[in-house]
Every structure is written in structure tokens, then in C-alpha cells.
């Protein structure tokens, strides 16, 4: 009986095909700018090729944001409407430090290794560490609210917390720092990261960023800790009864998800060379929610697909329908949810398992008769 117990071969929630698919996509995406360059004849840093690189960069960053949301909602079962706080928090931390602190620091100090000036690199590392710290703090803040509240009450509180941060960045009191309504514009980023002059660099950085985030999150949800986080989604009472403290695992889910979102936000801030209140608004959270649901909750690869679809659709729908495109998209979204309630990837996995089990039953029946 026990010899066929090999969970590595029979895992339900994970599958190796995912890794193969994502590798194929990685190769395709690496080749994309060069293929575009060949087909259209436009240079790597101009015209159509450059435009589509931009579209893809936004897709990569949004995919990470959506995946981080999936980690929280799809795996942890935590429905937060304030997730944009982490994304926007990362973006604002980056923009604020780069705009107000980095220029001063760089004009006053010069850190040299031999003849190479590494001040800029040190500053960037420091700023990203700050982004990390702020993300962790925001994650802790949100998880603190989940200690006592559940369900709708918890969702409302996360919405309120998110809105509070939104109002904070829009406050005119801090206009000289945050730019209030307009946000922070013209954030000075190093030349090699400049989205206009060196778009290809950002393209590859964000592509690798997405890929690494996917691998790390995939690893996390299959780790002992990740499995307990999934148990929190499934049945909190039971989880507590077998000896897990739900608060601890929810905090881990919140903080790790917040870190990914914060880093995505910082990268988004580099891409836009700005940070604006929209990045921290509830609309941002809803976008992540839509991408996640579209692709499939609790699949990780689903949100990536969802982000790609969102990005493509918003691009084409805008040219076709003008400013009313969200209306058309809304109808499409409702239809997708009606027909594919588990999202695209989720539904596909369900059906695939049915097919697989069907074959297993047939072979099982045949072998039993013999």
C-alpha cells in the first residue's frame, strides 16, 4: 500500500509543467526586443520596439504586484483591500529618498573604490533597503489589524488603512515633500536606469525581477511555512487546534507579500521616474484583484497571465473604445468570471485533473480485471 506514496509525483497544488512553461516564456521574452527589432526594422531603443518594451515593463511589474496579492489572498485566504499601500509605500519611499536625500548625499560625499565612484551604487542599495524596511513595516501594520478582526470587518479595516495612507500622500501639508495631488515627478534615477535612454536595461531588470519573484514565491508556497499559510485559508479553527498560531502565519504572509509589492512599487517608480497618489489608491488594489481573479486565484502563474491580459486589453481597448474602455472591460470581466469561475489557469488545472483522473480510472479498471 505504501510504496506508491510519493507526494513529489502526486502533488496536487504544484506541477512541473508550470516551470517548463515559464521557462519557455522567459526565453520568448528575452528574445522579444530583438525579434521586434528584426521584424519591424526599428532600432532597439526607438519606435515600436521601444513602445512595446514599455508595455512589457509595466506588465512585469504589475505581474509581481498581482502575484504578491495572490500570495496573500489565494494562498493565505486574506482579503485585503489595502494592498496598494505596500506598492505605493515602496514607490514613495524610493521616490522620496531619491529626490530629497540622494542628490544631497551624492554632492557631499564621494565613496571610491580605487578609481571607481561607487557612491551611486551605495545610495541605490541603501534606498532599496529602506524600501524593504518600509514594506515590512506596512506588512506588520496590516497584519496587526488581522489579529482580532475577521471577514468583512477585516476587509473594511484594510480599506480604511489603505485610504488613510492615500490621504496622507495627498495631504497638502506635506506638499514640499510629497507633491500632494501631483505626486513626485522627475525623480532622479541613475543614467543606466533611465527609462527613456536605457529602456532595454529596465526591460531586462524587470523581466528578471518578475522571474525571480515567481520562483521565490513558488518556493515559499510549497515550503512547510507556506503549507501552513494555505491551511489558514482552508480552516483557521482547525489550524489552531492542531497547534499552529494563525496570527504568526498571517503575519508571515502579510510581510512577505508586502515585501514583493514594495519592491514592485519601487521599480514602478523607477520606470515612471515619479510616484503619484494613484499608485497607493484603492484602484491599484482592485487592479491586482482583477488580474488575480482573471488568471486564477492561488495559482501564481495566473496573476502573471492576468497582468498580461490586463495590459494588452487596456492598450487595445483604449484605442478602440476611447476613455470608456473600462466599461467594455467590465462586461468582459463579468463574462470571464461567469464562465471561468476559477480564472483561466485555475479552470484549466481543474479540468486537467479531471482528464488525468479519468485516464487513471480507466487504466485502473483494466488492470483490475486481469
Amino acid at each position: 500500500m505504501t510504496e506508491n506514496i510519493n507526494p513529489k509525483k502526486n502533488r496536487f497544488l504544484t506541477n512541473f509543467q508550470d516551470e517548463r512553461i515559464i521557462l519557455v516564456f522567459l526565453v520568448l521574452l528575452i528574445a522579444f526586443p530583438f525579434v521586434m527589432n528584426l521584424i519591424t526594422g526599428t532600432g532597439l531603443n526607438e519606435g515600436v520596439t521601444k513602445f512595446w518594451q514599455g508595455q512589457f515593463i509595466v506588465f512585469f511589474i504589475m505581474a509581481v504586484f498581482a502575484m504578491s496579492y495572490d500570495l496573500l489572498m489565494g494562498y493565505g485566504g486574506i482579503l485585503s483591500f489595502g494592498h496598494a499601500a505596500s506598492f505605493g509605500g515602496g514607490a514613495y519611499t524610493f521616490a522620496l529618498l531619491m529626490k530629497h536625500w540622494a542628490p544631497n548625499f551624492m554632492s557631499n560625499y564621494r565613496i571610491m573604490v580605487g578609481s571607481i565612484n561607487i557612491t551611486e551604487a551605495i545610495v541605490l542599495i541603501f534606498v532599496f533597503l529602506a524600501v524593504l524596511l518600509i514594506s515590512i513595516l506596512i506588512g506588520l501594520l496590516f497584519s496587526a489589524t488581522s489579529v482580532r478582526l475577521k471577514g468583512a470587518y477585516f476587509a473594511m479595516l484594510t480599506l480604511a488603512l489603505g485610504s488613510a495612507l492615500y490621504i496622507l500622500v495627498k495631504a497638502t501639508d506635506f506638499h514640499q515633500w510629497t507633491g500632494a495631488d501631483e505626486g513626485l515627478h522627475g525623480v532622479p534615477v541613475p543614467l543606466w536606469l533611465n527609462p527613456t535612454q536605457n529602456r532595454l536595461t529596465i526591460y531586462f531588470i524587470s523581466l528578471i525581477f518578475m522571474f525571480v519573484c515567481y520562483m521565490v514565491m513558488k518556493r515559499m508556497v510549497n515550503s512547510p511555512t507556506g503549507r501552513v499559510i494555505i491551511a489558514n485559508r482552508e480552516n483557521e479553527d482547525r489550524m489552531r487546534m492542531i497547534g499552529y498560531n494563525p496570527v504568526v502565519y498571517r503575519t508571515i504572509a502579510f510581510v512577505s507579500s508586502s515585501i514583493f509589492a514594495g519592491l514592485a512599487g519601487a521599480l514602478y517608480s523607477i520606470w515612471n521616474t515619479s510616484a503619484s497618489p494613484t499608485m497607493i489608491s484603492a484602484v491599484m488594489t482592485i487592479n491586482a484583484l482583477i488580474m488575480t481573479i482573471l488568471g486564477g486565484i492561488g495559482t501564481l502563474i495566473g496573476p502573471i497571465l492576468g497582468a498580461a491580459i490586463m495590459q494588452t486589453i487596456s492598450q487595445f481597448f483604449y484605442t478602440w473604445f476611447g476613455a470608456r474602455w473600462p466599461l467594455v472591460f467590465g462586461i468582459l470581466f463579468i463574462l470571464i468570471v461567469m464562465f471561468l469561475p476559477y480564472g483561466i489557469v485555475g479552470t484549466w488545472r481543474l479540468k486537467r485533473l479531471d482528464v488525468k483522473n479519468g485516464w487513471k480510472r480507466i487504466t485502473g479498471m483494466l488492470s483490475r480485471k486481469e
Binding site: 500500500m1 505504501t2 506514496i5 507526494p7 513529489k8 502526486n10 502533488r11 496536487f12 497544488l13 521565490v216 518556493r219 515559499m220 510549497n222 515550503s223 512547510p224 511555512t225 507556506g226 503549507r227 501552513v228 494555505i230 491551511a231 482552508e234 480552516n235 479553527d237 482547525r238 489550524m239 489552531r240 487546534m241 492542531i242 497547534g243 499552529y244 498560531n245 494563525p246 508571515i252 512577505s256
Partner: protein, 256 residues
């Protein structure tokens, strides 16, 4: 059977507003016994269970486990001490496989819960343990079924398996046979008897099936309206007049 007490409730009370569900209950569970708690609906059995397992805060009184005060200990810490609980309403992880349901419970007491970047399925010790438990409760061959796809009787076995995988010393069974057909009951009783005796565990059992209670328990506590009405061996309880009036009388009256 030893005389050592493993769990003790002292003057335990629980009130929901004006309703006193558990009223000044004193109960001593001796080690390595099968202790049944019976009583009509609304007698406070499940509430007592919730107090013993820590799901609800007590209004008054104390709970002692092996002489240690655990009254204010949260459920997950009680689980680590060795108190396991099964539920009256099936309480499993519906969208996970049977193996994963039990593996999670097996992992709980280990030291690998905070390894964020290693693969859960590489920890063979938990899987071995789970397979052993799956064998014990008779779910072999069902390892990769989703828990929600199991028939009711097997969900009850899974419920039992989750509790067993935590390797508790004291098992709290809240109506383990609830909703099962009478043909399935003997098998489950045998499993319960086996797991309790095998590792000299102690069990507290809330149950409605009188024949079952009478045959497997060593001690029976009868509760009525939140109070302890009587306590004794099955033989003594069956003869107790008060109990007959409050509880058994009705049931046997219906049967005859």
C-alpha cells in the same frame, strides 16, 4: 488504569449572557481511561469541550492539565502540550488532499514550521508519520483525494486522523460518529479503541449512541443543564435513578 489525574476542571463555568451553559463543573479525568460525557441536547457538553480545548474563554474556574494551570492558554499551545480535539461538525481542510491534511498536523509539532525556502515534501519524516496515521484510521488508497470529495464516513475518519497525527496524550472526541450510518459505527469504534489503548492515551468522549458509550467507556459523567448530574462506571450510571429520569429514561422509553 491508574489513579493519576491528567485533566481536571475546577468549578468551571461558562455563561453566554444570561444563559449559563456550563455551571460550576468539577471533573477529573484519570490517565489511560476512556471517559464519556453524556447528557441530553443542550446539556453543555460541547461547551465544556470548548473550554477544555481553549476555543472559548472561561467565565469562571480553572482547567488543569497534568497539574499545570492551562486556563488561559490558547488552543495552539494546548495542542503542543498534548491535547487533541476532533469536532462534532466535520472540520477539515477541504481543498487539500487527505495526505496534506494529515501531514500538516504531523508537521505542527516539528521544528520545521518556519523554513520558508525548503520544500515541504522533502521532509520525509512527516510523510511517513502521515502514512502510518492514514493506515491506522483506514484511509489507505485515499491519500490523494481532496478532503472535500470524501464520503461523510471517511471525512469522520480523516477528522480522527488529523487529531492523531498531532500525537496527543489526551484526545477529546466530540461525537465522533455524528451523522454516520449504524453500519459504519463499529469500525470507527474499533479504531478509536485501538488508538486509545495502543499508546496508553486518555480519551474524553461526547457521544449520543448509548450502546457505544456503555460498551467502550470506563467512566461516564452525565451532564444536564450545564451541571454534572452523576459520575461513575457504566454499570453504576445505568442503575442511577436520577440519570434514568433525566436522560436514559427518555431514550430507553423510546426504544422499547
Amino acid at each position: 488504569m491508574t489513579q493519576e489525574t491528567i485533566l481536571e476542571a475546577r468549578n468551571l463555568s461558562k455563561a453566554f449572557g444570561g444563559l449559563v451553559a456550563v455551571d460550576n463543573v468539577n471533573i477529573q479525568i484519570r490517565k489511560e481511561t476512556m471517559h464519556a460525557i453524556i447528557g441530553p441536547n443542550g446539556a453543555g457538553k460541547t461547551t465544556l469541550f470548548n473550554l477544555l480545548s481553549g476555543v472559548m474563554p472561561v467565565t469562571q474556574g480553572r482547567v488543569l492539565f497534568k497539574g499545570e494551570d492551562i486556563t488561559s492558554l490558547p488552543p495552539h499551545k494546548r495542542a503542543h502540550l498534548g491535547i487533541g480535539r476532533s469536532y462534532q461538525i466535520t472540520n477539515i481542510f477541504p481543498n487539500l488532499s487527505v495526505l496534506e491534511n494529515i501531514r500538516l498536523a504531523a508537521q505542527a509539532k516539528g521544528k520545521d514550521n518556519f523554513k520558508l525556502f525548503s520544500k515541504a515534501d522533502d521532509f520525509q519524516q512527516y510523510i511517513d508519520k502521515s502514512v502510518e496515521v492514514i493506515d491506522t484510521v483506514g484511509l489507505s488508497g485515499r491519500e490523494f483525494f481532496l478532503a472535500r470529495d470524501l464520503p461523510h464516513g471517511e471525512k469522520r475518519k480523516l477528522e480522527l486522523g488529523i487529531m492523531l497525527a498531532c500525537d496527543p496524550e489526551l484526545l477529546l472526541f466530540d461525537e465522533p460518529t455524528a451523522g454516520m450510518s449504524s453500519e459504519q459505527v463499529p469500525e470507527l469504534i474499533n479504531i478509536i479503541r485501538k488508538v486509545v489503548q495502543q499508546k496508553s492515551r486518555t480519551a474524553i468522549l461526547v457521544e449520543h449512541r448509548m450502546d457505544m458509550v456503555m460498551s467502550i467507556s470506563d467512566v461516564i459523567t452525565v451532564m444536564n443543564q450545564g451541571r454534572v448530574l452523576a459520575e461513575g462506571s457504566p454499570h453504576e450510571i445505568a442503575k442511577n435513578e436520577q440519570v434514568q429520569i433525566a436522560y436514559l429514561g427518555d431514550l430507553y422509553g423510546e426504544l422499547t
